[in-house]
Symmetry: D2
Subunit: 386 residues, 4 copies
């Protein structure tokens, strides 16, 4: 037995999300970083990798070079999978090349630059025997697993209404646009046709569908570009109709000044409702009309097995975002081991978001932009090629 | 000097809101209940009034009898104003007769059965020298006064987004429909064309406009009748455009199982945002992007004068719903004293919701119902006669 | 049937606690204020009473005059009971005279100036047929009633540990001493031998004993005079042994800067624990080791009957300090009606703190001061005359 | 540059704290686990190590074997430091041998079995050029760094009162004693003279002294053995006098049923107070008497540099216990690098708890046990050999 070996594209010094991927991968001792193309600048890639104590010869000039050279290494040395942590416009080309070289892929979201690329990615995956994971991080929280379990078990009864909100304030002013994180997200050439929906709305939509076990079928969108001179949306609200007829409201914003990373999901059923907030992730509220509200807590009492395996500490020792992230990597590592062992290595079995979520996410982004421009209220959410 | 004298229509034994009006009126020792027509059943009216220690001859058989007989009492005895606490369909006829007899009116909301009645009420008030107040109770909270003040002072900067939510669960199941409170609210003959928007959505809309100092100009509505066999809405979401171009989201529901009386208002400006929840009303959160969040508390430090005068206890001794309600009555008592003294007795001066709010509220109810039935996204909020 | 008639001693313009007693008495429409000696200054007493719309002839120059003259009024006019809201040194002489004239007494706490007076008061009450109530306000909260009920029913199992904390910051600096409220509390001639323990520690001790159904038997006290040049304590911690052997910690402070009125009670049993905070009084937390924490809420589900009768609003419409206070007055009004009717009018039956609590409170104050001066750890709590 | 190499003693399969040490060490990519003696059972040590993907020849039969063999490895291979994660009775002998072999030591707390061992450890360290760190994990939280900074800067003014509480419920019943974690902690041969004070009271005392920058000078203790047939304390309260004359209260308990890991620290100064809770560690409350309460949040605005370097995620992406733990390892890795570079490698400079904290902790444990048995109230906290 050995650790699973990871390469990385993107995530050089100063990049925020790359460091988080590395911590998430390292936490459980199942994955080791062995190589990377950390920057489009070859020198910067090298210096970044060496700061991670990688040998110089595994710090590549480009992702193309990395895939080529790694593929020529012996099986006991070469990386097993690549983590893609670049801006959006590179997700598809990097994933495509990785797949063609036979490396598994763990991609940051949104999956691709547009829906057509996501559909193309699906075709590629159908033709290559590689695994594909998508880091919808928030799925990784134990109490989200518990929430999904309770919905699936029918504890809430038929779902009637879903409210998901993802409010941030970090793009509330023009002065905020100068950071590295902001500038590419607001640039349609790097980010795609949406900033807010593409960056965080898609997380909210994914979380809702993941927990509710229902799909978005119709939507009515009102996207806004609040701060002047921006080319993309920085705020939006989307009314939803779900597959079972339930209604939903999705609010996402990057201009809600003073909000940190306020992702909150509420699901109201016939009998009970649940309420979860990412900023206090170890608590899940369960409410009903005539009984005391129950505060379910990570580590306390009987939780479902997927919640239990997603926790590392006893009750009251808070786990957070990095641990949730690590749960995706941990599951992906197990998925790769199952693949190696010739066992069931599907995303569903291993609870790793995959190409289906990639396509639904890209469809959500595109449809909300289209719907927002229309004065017709309801639009079907179309997941086929445009 | 003497106490202001109140009569009441509705609010007999078992009625919830009547008792609250009486407590609110009694709290500050400025108003005394002197008479009432507490029920359409004459015997029940009498027994109800006597349980309040009223003399039998001031417990009337009907509101018509009350106005007639009270108007014949000497000035040192007859009531000054009537509190109308009946179901909606009676608000207008009772107010109309009170006005015609020269009694001031304090009416529960929604002001009337429909928009046309509210417009007619305005005409009546223009032709009679009486005062009219509307109990949008939530305006009475001290920290709502403070929030309004801070917005008006520009502390938030230009307002960009408003989110107001009013979630309840008490009508989540058919079994809930049998209570007195539920049955008339769900009956279009007693309640009007809306249950949820008429009962609580209108409170949310009023609170938003009151604090933001902005009006709703356009709306996109999705109202739902969630529980089968109901004739009226029990849930709804409304997207808003406000007078300054800011966007808003208003959610109101009576089927959010497990929610008590969850009215929450958030206003996001360019510079700061505020967040207030009715269930913890003595706290007002003030947020900005790069400073610690501030928790303003009733009774702590310098608050605006209208917040200060709306508080009765020192910091940390919680005041609640009845005190907020009492603030409306206290202001209305002062308004009546000003009227008696020939001083400025406008609703604006005395911070009492009046006929303008009545009309806007009825327009909001009607327009959301209309807009919800349409597949056109945006509808202007029309406050003229239909 | 008629309202119960209240006179008041103390509580003139500017006094904080008098106004609260009046609101608490007025709220439910069961009690009317009919007279008062609101100040030791006769003119100020008169102007204060007239500002409350009392007739001039019921605004007395002194409490002596009030008792004398009221006792000569006809039974359908004279007051039923007196509310004593003066500084501590007058509680006993006013109560004594009221009792001797046959008026029932509702006294602010602490009951008397010292333990000996409280014991003397008990003797007086044994010799006169009048009722005596003591406003330990915090007992009046619905969720405190529920907590007491749950403890009594054994839901927590044997009680093992109690933690009660009452933290305020209002006396944290010398500058705070100039207010009317502060100056008399810090003056041993008006306040007694303790400031902090006499003002708020006694509330905490009472609440603990009320809910736990256990008495304090031994204590180890560390009282502090934190701000220089004060003659009395402004902070203290008391370790406790209760009657069943359970341990307790009582913290009270007036120098915890930034604290408002932070009274919190936790009781840990063998099986479950409860947690209640006065600043969010409508919530009672019920915890156990392997089950979700339960949040019991005023107005939600089945609560005990004494909690139910202590609430006026539906779930989610917060009631607060004044309503808790009003519950004591409401119970006292019922107690007086029972007395008039010749029915059981004991404090226990009517859930009104009385002379037993008065004596225990004064003993607690005296013993903590004595124990604090000693370097012996444990002291018995002695409730007999010193 | 290379990663720092860690060996481990204890922490085999099933051990809770060993896994946490490994995650904490792995998180930031600065430390790699290279060897271990994970169990006193040689076979179990081997299988545990191999489950961590260690080569079989670095999974040792005993810690003695590990130190001996590692010391013979070449400098580019052998471990730099040992993490000691055994029960308490082994902390000293393992540390002693490590020091004598020249390996740096990172020890779990409490440092040793008793105070004399801690004093002996200090002597050993004075005679060997090795580093010693002690995992008082809670020091590692960013907002604790911020709190310490604010106290040190005088933002609170002179400290007057400190309240630290550490409440758990996991040992509330006899049935809880069977777990591996419980059984050794309750066994005086493995744990020492105290269970509750040794396990968690010592954390609370350390945290208090760390943040307040003040030492405990005198204490009055009341320790309890609540559950029958236990040989050690499972609950206790300690009154404190600190070096500047401030008073303190320390509560620690393992029988507070329903409590998870409720460590909370409040410090009240002349001007402001702070309040921090481990279960919501990214928030620090700053209170004063006449200003809004401030909620400082990890990642928001200007925090002190030691808080800033202790954070890995942007605002609103919660970090927790493992990250706090990792901060101790990260600092220790830097300390070792400084040692290698011949730079200042003191514990103070690198903000790593060391031998001074070890001695104070062991003194605290011993003195509370002694003081609790005495009926004299105050006892000096004596840190010299007994």
């Amino acid at each position: 037995m050995r650790k699973i070996r990871m390469g990385m594209v993107g995530g050089g010094s100063g990049a925020f999300i790359g460091a988080l991927h590395r911590m998430a991968a390292a936490l459980d001792g199942e994955i080791e970083l062995v190589c990377g193309a950390f920057s489009s600048d070859a020198q910067r890639s090298k210096s970044s990798g060496q700061a991670m104590y990688l040998p110089a010869d595994r710090c590549y000039d480009s992702y193309q070079q990395m895939f080529e050279q790694e593929s020529q290494l012996s099986a006991d040395k070469r990386m097993d999978f690549v983590a893609i942590v670049t801006p959006n416009h590179l997700h598809f080309p990097v994933a495509k090349m990785a797949i063609e070289y036979g490396f598994h892929v763990m991609s940051d979201k949104p999956a691709t630059f547009n829906l057509n690329e996501a559909i193309a990615l699906k075709t590629l995956l159908e033709n290559h025997d590689v695994l594909y994971g998508l880091t919808h991080t928030y799925n990784g929280y134990p109490m989200i697993k518990q929430a999904k379990h309770m919905v699936a078990c029918g504890e809430l009864g038929q779902i009637r209404k879903v409210v998901v909100e993802y409010s941030q304030g970090w793009l509330a002013s023009k002065a905020d646009e100068t950071s590295k994180q902001a500038s590419w997200r607001l640039d349609p050439k790097l980010s795609g046709i949406s900033c807010c929906m593409g960056d965080i709305g898609v997380h909210a939509a994914n979380l809702l569908e993941y927990v509710a076990g229902l799909n978005i079928e119709y939507l009515c969108a009102d996207l806004n570009t609040t701060v002047e001179d921006r080319q993309l949306d920085d705020d939006g609200t989307v009314l939803l109709k779900l597959t079972n007829g339930a209604k939903g409201v999705l609010m996402a914003s990057q201009i809600c000044i003073g909000e940190e990373n306020n992702l909150r999901l509420r699901i109201y059923g016939e009998n009970k409702s649940i309420d979860w907030s990412q900023m206090e992730p170890n608590t899940l509220w369960l409410r009903s009309n005539n009984q005391p509200t129950q505060m379910l807590r990570a580590g306390v009492g009987d939780l479902c097995s997927s919640a239990m395996t997603a926790m590392r500490t006893p009750a009251g020792h808070p786990e957070g975002y990095i641990e949730a992230f690590a749960n995706l990597y941990l599951n992906f590592a197990k998925q790769i081991r199952a693949f190696h062992a010739g066992e069931d290595s599907s995303n569903e079995t291993h609870d790793v978001p995959g190409i289906e979520q990639a396509i639904r996410g890209m469809a959500f982004i595109e449809q909300t932009v289209i719907a927002s421009k229309s004065n017709t209220k309801w639009h079907a959410m179309n997941i086929s090629e445009s």
